[in-house]
């Protein structure tokens, strides 16, 4: 009897929509119900779940087909007879095979309930439940509405359709869009291009200035040349003073000479000595220049 809840909420759309029956009876809509089915393209429904029952598209479809077999105007059908027919049909099917789509079973249950409501006198207890007649009318409404949709669908398909019965112009000329390019330029751009271009073509002779630095290579050369003459410990500053020239910065001279001296000391060409950090750095010709003994180098 969960169906009742559905009946109480006719607007509910979800889930077991098959039992959500409108509660107000439909008016008569006499139409020829028996032509509608014939025009449909005979494609099989995609819905494998529903097709189970002899190709019917759901319980409403089955009911509608049964109503047609009553060979009367759909507004004249006996709902009770229809309900009987449906219940018998479903019962037969269930005997043959158990796997019947749930939709059909839900409908069967609801129809069984409807049947009982139609056969028994309405309980005059003032309940909100719709009467058996209201339920029957609501079912009839749904059947007629479905039938009406089938009918108009076929009417629609039988209209003069574009591309089938009536045709648009085969060679529409369309609107031709003529594109014209209009070049724009402004004077500034023009002058800039000209100036840039002219200037880029000016032949210029460059003299590359010497950088005011003593390179490591130069320092090494100078040091190698000088060191032959210094057998005694000589402070580096004194050596530097011999070749520091005006345009070369002192810092650069010190740095490069120091670097070169480390290299030469490693090679044993000179020896270095420093008593403490930042104390004057002394150097003299290394052992290598006199003997080939082990080199020593100090920091």
């Amino acid at each position: 009897m969960t169906d009742q809840a559905e009946i109480e909420e006719p607007g509910k759309e979800e889930g077991a929509s098959q039992v959500a029956v409108p509660r107000v009876p439909a008016p008569c809509a006499p139409e020829d119900p028996f032509t509608a089915g014939t025009v449909y393209a005979g494609e099989v429904s995609e819905d494998a779940l529903i097709i189970d029952v002899n190709g019917y598209e759901g319980p409403l479809d089955l009911l509608l087909d049964m109503a047609r077999t009553q060979k009367v105007d759909i507004t004249q059908i006996s709902i009770l007879a229809l309900v009987e027919q449906y219940l018998v049909f479903i019962a037969e099917l269930r005997q043959k095979r158990l796997e019947l789509a749930a939709d059909y079973l839900v409908m069967a249950a609801w129809l069984a309930y409807l049947k009982s409501r139609l056969l028994l006198p309405d309980p005059d207890d003032g309940s909100e439940e719709p009467s058996g007649e209201e339920m029957a009318a609501a079912l009839a409404f749904r059947l007629r509405r479905l039938e009406a949709m089938r009918d108009v669908a076929s009417q629609l398909m039988n209209r003069n359709r574009l591309g089938r019965d009536v045709f648009a112009r085969g060679q529409p000329e369309g609107v031709r869009i003529e594109r014209t390019n209009e070049y724009v330029g402004d004077l500034f751009e023009l002058l800039r291009a000209y100036s840039f271009q002219r200037e880029s073509r000016i032949e210029v002779h460059y003299t590359i200035k010497r950088l005011p630095v003593l390179t490591l290579t130069n320092a090494r050369e100078i040091l190698t040349r000088l060191v032959g003459g210094i057998a005694e410990w000589t402070p580096m500053d004194v050596l530097l003073s011999q070749y520091t020239r005006g345009e070369i910065s002192h810092g650069s001279t010190v740095a490069s000479t120091f670097g070169a001296s480390l290299e030469l000391a490693r090679e044993g060409v000179i020896e270095l000595r420093q008593s403490s950090a930042f104390a004057p750095l002394y150097m003299r010709a290394g052992n290598q220049t006199k003997t080939s003994g082990p080199k020593s180098s100090g920091q």
């Binding site: 008016p27 393209a41 409403l60 089938r150």
Partner: protein, 233 residues
């Protein structure tokens, strides 16, 4: 520029009709009155011109028709038999698709659940796809109800294909309306809404969100999930 109706000589009017005729003949798609006016001299009475042209072609092999509020020439209906060679392979619609199309056209805006309720059966995924692909059906918006399901409606292409000037031209729509058969429920007073094709959303529709929902739509509106689960179990 000016909206005022000017006085034109009959020669002028004849020339305006010629221009209209040329424009409509050449057009690749139906043209609305605004577009047509824009290409004619200022101040012409476009409606009167269209009527004159329509009358001139009334009995000819080609007729001027208005579909979905736009004007186009097309071959006369009674000559359909002649046009077999032009006919393109017809899309064959399944019964489910046909019914769904009719329900969408007559009941729009309508949700998937409502379609299922009318047909008494769930719609398979492919059915709506076919109709959307054919450009006969479009997603209109979302119903302001729990789950905010997508609402569907018909398209201009639908109107063009079936030669409908407006949705009120749908066959039998007045009778169905009078019979209350276009109602989702059966209201006591049978005040039934006519199909609504307007671009505007109904008061109970929300616009489709342009973001986020795109990939979930059109196939997974609220009830789809339930459906899918059912199939699997």
């Amino acid at each position: 520029m000016s909206d005022e109706q000017q006085v034109f000589s009959s020669d002028d009017v004849r020339q305006h009709v010629r221009m209209l005729e040329a424009l409509l003949f050449a057009a690749e798609e139906p043209l609305d009155e605004v577009t047509l006016s824009a290409r004619l001299p200022d101040g012409v009475d476009i409606i009167a011109l269209l009527e004159a042209l329509q009358n001139a072609y009334q009995s000819r092999g080609v007729n001027l028709v208005c579909v979905a509020g736009k004007w186009m020439f097309r071959t006369a209906e009674d000559l359909s038999f002649l046009m077999q060679e032009e006919r393109v392979e017809e899309k064959r619609l399944s019964r489910a698709a046909l019914e769904t199309l009719a329900i969408i056209a007559y009941h729009q805006p309508v949700t998937r659940a409502e379609i299922e309720e009318i047909r008494g059966v769930s719609i398979s995924k492919g059915t709506l796809d076919i109709l959307l692909d054919a450009e006969w059906v479009r997603m209109r918006g979302r119903r302001k109800s729990p789950g905010r399901p997508v609402t569907y409606g018909s398209t201009e292409e639908f109107m063009r294909h079936f030669g409908l000037e407006a949705l009120t031209d749908l066959p039998g729509v007045d009778e169905l309306k009078a019979a209350g058969l276009l109602s989702n429920r059966v209201p006591a007073n049978f005040a039934v809404p006519i199909p609504n094709a307007s671009e505007e959303l109904e008061s109970d529709e929300d616009p489709l969100e342009s973001e986020g929902d795109f990939f979930e739509e059109p196939l997974n509106d609220g009830d789809e999930q339930v459906q899918e689960t059912k199939h699997v179990s």
